[in-house]
């Protein structure tokens, strides 16, 4: 059963890839612009933390901040690879009625929505994130052992899954409140806070990012593995567990929404 699903989604992906690569110039332009967009964000941190006039943010060094920012960029890239439909879920699936079509098929409805479009261009952002992490890592004197690579993979995957869980939850609200846009925009902007050391923000913001919308676990705590700050390590090791719990909550909210779903009839 699982094997069949995986084979089917692989076919979804192959089909999407064929369609996307039909227009090569177009794809190249998108890939390049994603790279530029990702780099522009990093540019702000690079220029702000020039290392001469501004060397640290409340004791967090330039390299530590770049590492957190780079980690966040990787998690965001992995997340945006499959998340495109979540942002237009209310419009495309609920208001326009495409969710009826999804329910007709004997496959998991959430997986269908996630895997109907892929944002392959986010590979450009991924490249930027990897470059920043490797730059900051080398400046911090990290050896990048096999264990470090394993954590880089596990930490950024968990980070991406936490982002995914939050936006699955937000998208599932569309089952109850029909609206084309929903509340995903301000929640998305909240990610900005997770790209810097958590302690520089107001305690209320820290509390929200840690216990309500767990964005702190999407980049700051996973990156803390590489920073010599032992007080953060317990949170750091909790990252995969937070990912699992968030996904479970989001999945429950989704199924609850599906059960309450009634078509708009369009």
């Amino acid at each position: 059963m699982i094997y069949r699903s995986v084979a089917l989604y692989a076919a979804y992906f192959a089909q999407f890839l064929k369609a996307r690569l039909a227009y090569r110039a177009d794809f190249a332009a998108s890939l390049l612009s994603n790279l530029v967009g990702g780099a522009a964000g990093v540019l702000f941190v690079f220029f702000l933390m020039d290392g001469k006039t501004i060397t640290n943010l409340r004791g967090w060094s330039r390299e530590e901040i770049l590492l957190i920012y780079g980690f966040s960029t990787i998690a965001m890239a992995l997340f945006s690879f499959v998340s495109f439909n979540l942002f237009r879920f209310g419009d495309r699936y609920i208001v326009q009625g495409n969710f009826d079509r999804v329910l007709l098929r004997p496959l998991n409805s959430l997986c269908q929505v996630l895997f109907e479009t892929f944002n392959i261009e986010s590979l450009g952002t991924l490249a930027v994130g990897l470059a920043v992490v490797s730059y900051a890592g080398r400046r911090l004197g990290i050896a990048f052992t096999a264990m470090d690579y394993l954590w880089l993979l596990l930490g950024s995957l968990s980070g991406a899954l936490i982002l995914l869980a939050v936006f699955i939850f937000v998208a599932s609200l569309s089952f109850h409140f029909e609206d084309r846009l929903g509340v995903s925009a301000p929640v998305y902007n909240l990610i900005n806070f997770s790209r810097y050391p958590l302690p520089i923000f107001h305690p209320v913001i820290q509390f929200i990012l840690q216990w309500i919308i767990p964005f702190a676990f999407s980049a700051f705590y996973p990156a803390a593995y590489f920073l010599k700050r032992p007080e953060l390590l317990p949170y750091c090791y909790a990252v995969p567990a937070v990912a699992v719990v968030s996904l479970a909550i989001a999945g429950t909210a989704w199924s609850f929404g599906v059960r309450r779903y009634c078509s708009t009839g369009s």
Binding site: N34, G37, L57
Partner: protein, 292 residues
């Protein structure tokens, strides 16, 4: 016998009623578009509440980042010419102004081209370019009342924002922001014309969004950029969208010297408009509308 039709032989004085009629028709058409875009935006009310939230979050994030930056310096220190109070004002007023000058013209053009609705624009006796800019201006006017004012009120309540350098400075800031809107609107239209050639310009629109945040000086005033990057900033029109108006607000450009940046804003707006019109005309050859 001359081959002229009577209509072509008329004197300039006789042209006046026709110009008058044309202008009246133009204003009627454009005000209908204006009214329409007001109504469309009214229909999406949730977008306003979430939009106000988003702006608040942007300002808050950068407020705390700047607090942390200045924490490492003695109280009252200036970094690249800015005190913490000035930087807080810069960020807050910068984002309030952005809520006014930011437009989705590139996205709208892309939508019209991809859906083929652009054909209904092109068969009417109106200027597509002008309509899009005027529509954008209508939306900006709408945002001024229902978006910029509440955002401004919330931000002024929550963050310690300084008053403008003077009444004249504030008026010049407003004028300069309006010109900044025009520059960005023309650049957005230019990006929108790419949709005639490319199948999807979503990626380009997104990267433009991030690039302009940096290059306009909204996130970081240009004096913070390294020396090697300054020529890039000076060669592009984007610093005239955010940085120049904010300099006027803070009094970094005195009202006596203000004519100079304002003139370059007008020149940049004109240059971008000419380029956008040229790009539009070149793009029509690539337009393919399926059926409709």
């Amino acid at each position: 016998m001359s081959g002229r039709t009577p209509g072509e032989a008329i004197f300039p004085a006789a042209l006046l009623p026709r110009i008058y009629a044309g202008a009246r028709q133009g204003i009627a058409v454009y005000s209908a578009f204006l009214r329409n875009s007001f109504l469309v935006m009214l229909a999406y009310r949730l977008r306003y509440y979430t939009g106000i939230c988003s702006y608040l979050l942007f300002v808050a994030a950068h407020y705390f980042i700047w607090q942390a930056v200045f924490a490492g310096h003695p109280a009252g220190a200036r970094i690249h010419g800015f005190t913490l109070a000035e930087m807080t004002t810069y960020v807050s007023v910068g984002w309030i102004a952005r809520s006014l000058y930011f437009s989705n013209i590139d996205y709208d053009v892309d939508e019209l081209v991809r859906s083929g609705q652009i054909s209904t624009f092109l068969i009417r006796p109106i200027q597509f370019h002008a309509v899009m800019i005027v529509q954008g201006a209508g939306e900006a006017l709408f945002r001024l009342l229902f978006f910029t004012v509440p955002i401004g009120a919330v931000i002024l309540l929550l963050f310690p924002v300084s008053a403008p350098a003077g009444t004249a400075a504030f008026c010049l800031f407003c004028l300069s922001t309006a010109l900044g809107f025009l520059i960005l609107a023309e650049v957005s239209f230019l990006v929108g014309t790419l949709s005639f050639r490319l199948k999807s310009i979503q990626g380009i629109i997104r990267s433009k969004y991030f690039l302009i945040q940096v290059l306009s000086g909204l996130l970081l005033p240009p004096p913070f950029f390294p020396a090697w990057f300054q020529p890039v900033i000076d060669a592009l029109p984007f610093k005239h969208v955010a940085y120049v108006p904010l300099q006027l607000y803070l009094g970094q450009i005195s009202t006596a010297q203000a004519w100079e940046p304002l003139c370059s804003q007008v020149l940049w707006a004109a240059a971008c408009a000419v380029l956008a019109e040229y790009a539009l005309r070149r793009s029509f050859a690539h337009l393919a509308v399926q059926g409709g």
